[in-house]
């Protein structure tokens, strides 16, 4: 059976959509202890409502000598405790594609994290 051009195109679009959806996921780590750092000015309407969220969306370079990447959590006004309460790592189709095209040398990093509210 021969597939015409439209059918091939449709198949490609469906496959691409499937790939995009299946490669897009989040992993969230949340400490059972500690209160999340609040943000009274936040108007978010997602999982992080009322939390002081720090978002990192960047591309890192990995070479033969550096096989990993460490993000340092420092004490800042958004993270006065310098300790983590919640971390969310998100993988997307774009991340997979970038990694594939650059043969693993460039990696997209999309992270959200919330620090622990300081206790007094």
């Amino acid at each position: 059976m021969k597939l015409n051009q439209t059918s091939v195109l449709r198949l490609l679009v469906v496959s691409l959509a499937f790939l995009m959806l299946s490669s897009c996921y989040s992993v969230r780590l949340r400490s059972i202890n500690g209160a999340p750092m609040p943000d009274p000015l936040s108007e978010r309407e997602d999982y992080y409502r009322d939390m002081q969220v720090i978002e990192l969306d960047t591309v890192i370079s990995i070479n033969a000598t550096t096989k990993d990447f460490t993000l340092l959590i420092k004490e800042t006004s958004k993270c006065p405790s310098g300790m983590l309460h919640t971390v969310e790592y998100r993988n997307t189709f774009g991340s997979v594609l970038l990694s594939a095209i650059t043969l693993g040398r460039k990696r997209k990093v999309k992270i959200k994290y919330v620090c622990v509210k300081p206790s007094n």
């Binding site: 209160a35 000015l41 206790s119 007094n120």
Partner: protein, 535 residues
């Protein structure tokens, strides 16, 4: 010096999106660093000074002022149209010693803890846990501030304990802009801390049962709640069971609270004679749109703390999927008749899994509740003897005039001594309707209209009731608070009028208080309202 940042804002909302409401200024106060003021009472007093400054600033501008913490209330109780104060960063814990205990105190010194207003329940529990202690009860989750809990009457379903305010034994209020407007109140019949401690926090002491009972559930309007003293207890475990039992048995237990002579028996939860134990916690879940012969119930039994026990978190962390709930709202607005079908299909995500069993501490079981989108909650308190009758009236309303996108539950709470506690019956059954917010449509009446009808049908059925201060209702319903509380409402207003100057009574009022007619200042007051009575 504690630092406050004023943010010009024109709107404010609750956590569950029950607004938005107008606002002019949002104050956010942060404590001075520990390095600069190492002594905790001095940091606390420094913060009190800052609050008094903000009260003066607001008073000079002839505006209103209201503190809030986690904004979990769904009613407008936490809102002021002028200036609001976020106190979540004011989370000191001041350790108490035996030397701070009042000589006539009935409380064990090791069970007394002093927390600043902005500590959330989770922070309080962690501090207590580090001392081998626990709260006696909490709400269904742990994100409310301790001051917010007591102002609105947050409760769990602890049959023998009461609500959060019922283990508060001292309150520190800031009632105005002057140094003398710093007051520490406790019951004269059950004092907790001595005058020397009150001097450390630079507060004037008033020991007076009547004043304390009025101020402990203050609806946020007896001044700024700066700190509270709570009575904790030794850490304990709860064995939690979820069962499906005959509807008639679930309701009979609700009406009688007689577990000992019932057929509801859980293996291992019996006394030496094999009779069923009375649980620490009992909750009934009801889908109002089905005529099921069995109801899902949740029962918890209190046990001494002992290690090891199985990790409860894999079960506790399960929650509703937000996207599905959003879908439900949208469909409900257009096709309300689909709601019962949705609730039936979603029962596995909305209700706990039947035959689920776990063991954990109070803090573990009533753990974090992630934000799940716009929500509503209506909650009526009735005498537990009226619980099945009231449930019948309210579920009939949902079937006849709904359906509405929510499910029902019943929890049971011991009577509170607080003047305006909605848990005022010997054992109060809180009938709750929780669900997702919807917009009024041609086919579905609004939440306020639904709330009004609930009040009307309970009145028609002649069932005395109260309403949870922090939940949705038709708060403008005529004579509502007087019908619910009668003379207690007048007593509460008298204590408030005695404690606050007219100017401060206005400053600490809000639209919610005006609506329910509790902001009125009483002119004729008995003379002894503020008298400190020595035990």
């Amino acid at each position: 010096m504690a630092k406050t940042t004023p943010f010009p804002k024109d709107r404010w909302d609750t956590l569950h999106n029950n607004g938005p409401f107008d606002l002019k200024i949002l104050y956010v106060t942060e404590l001075e660093g520990e390095g600069n003021i190492p002594v905790k009472t001095e940091r606390y007093n420094d913060a009190a000074q800052e609050i008094r400054r903000l009260i003066k600033e607001t008073s000079d501008a002839n505006q209103g002022f209201r503190a809030y913490g986690s904004r979990w209330s769904m009613s407008k109780i936490a809102h002021n149209k002028d200036r609001m104060h976020y106190n979540g960063f004011m989370n000191l814990h001041i350790p108490l010693t035996a030397a701070d205990r009042h000589i006539d105190s009935p409380y064990d010194a090791s069970n007394l803890f002093f927390f600043q207003c902005g500590n959330i329940i989770k922070e309080v529990s962690q501090t207590l846990g580090a001392h081998g202690k626990s709260l006696k009860t909490s709400g269904a989750s742990n994100g409310q501030t301790i001051a917010g809990c007591i102002s609105t009457g947050v409760h769990g379903s602890a049959l023998g304990v009461g609500a959060v305010q019922d283990y508060v034994v001292g309150i520190n209020l800031i009632t105005g802009p002057n140094p003398e407007d710093n007051i520490y109140i406790e019951r004269h019949s059950r004092p907790a801390l001595n005058n020397e401690f009150a001097a450390k926090i630079e507060a004037k002491v008033i020991r007076n049962d009547g004043l304390f009972n009025a101020a402990v559930v203050s609806l946020g309007s007896f001044g700024f709640i700066h700190g509270v003293v709570i009575e904790a207890e030794d850490r304990f475990l709860l064995n939690r069971y979820v069962k499906k039992i005959d509807r008639s048995l679930a309701l009979e237990l609700s009406d009688t609270m007689d577990f000992t002579n019932s057929t509801f028996k859980i293996e291992g939860e019996t006394d030496a004679d094999g009779k069923p134990l009375t649980p620490y916690h009992y909750k009934v879940f009801i889908n109002p749109y089905t005529d099921e012969s069995e109801y899902v119930i949740e029962a918890m039994y209190k046990k001494p703390y002992a290690l090891p026990y199985e990790d409860p978190f894999p079960t506790i962390k399960t929650s509703i999927y937000k996207d599905l709930i959003y879908l439900l709202i949208k469909i409900s607005e257009k096709f309300p008749k689909s709601i019962p079908w949705f609730i039936k299909k979603l029962r596995k995500t909305i209700l706990p899994a039947v035959n689920e069993e776990l063991t954990g501490t109070l803090a573990e079981i009533f753990w974090d509740a992630p934000y799940q989108g716009p929500a509503f909650a209506c909650s009526f308190g009735v005498d537990h003897k009226d619980s099945s009758k009231a449930l019948d009236v309210l579920t009939k309303l949902a079937r006849d005039e709904g359906p509405f996108p929510g499910i029902y539950a019943m929890r049971f709470v011991k009577q509170s001594e607080a003047t305006m506690a909605f848990t005022k019956f010997p054992i109060t059954c809180m009938i709750e309707i929780d669900g997702v917010l919807w917009k009024k449509s041609r086919k579905l009446i609004s939440l306020t209209e639904f709330s009004r009808r609930m009040i009307e049908v309970l009145q028609e059925a002649k069932i005395p009731f109260t309403i949870h201060w922090g939940k949705n209702s038709d708060w403008a319903f005529p004579n509502l608070v007087n019908d619910m509380f009668g003379d207690a409402a007048t007593t509460w207003k008298q204590y408030r009028s005695a404690l606050l100057s007219k100017e401060m009574a206005q400053l600490f009022s809000n639209d919610f208080l005006d609506t329910i007619k509790l902001s009125e200042v009483e002119e004729e007051l008995p003379e002894d309202l503020l008298v400190s009575i020595e035990p």
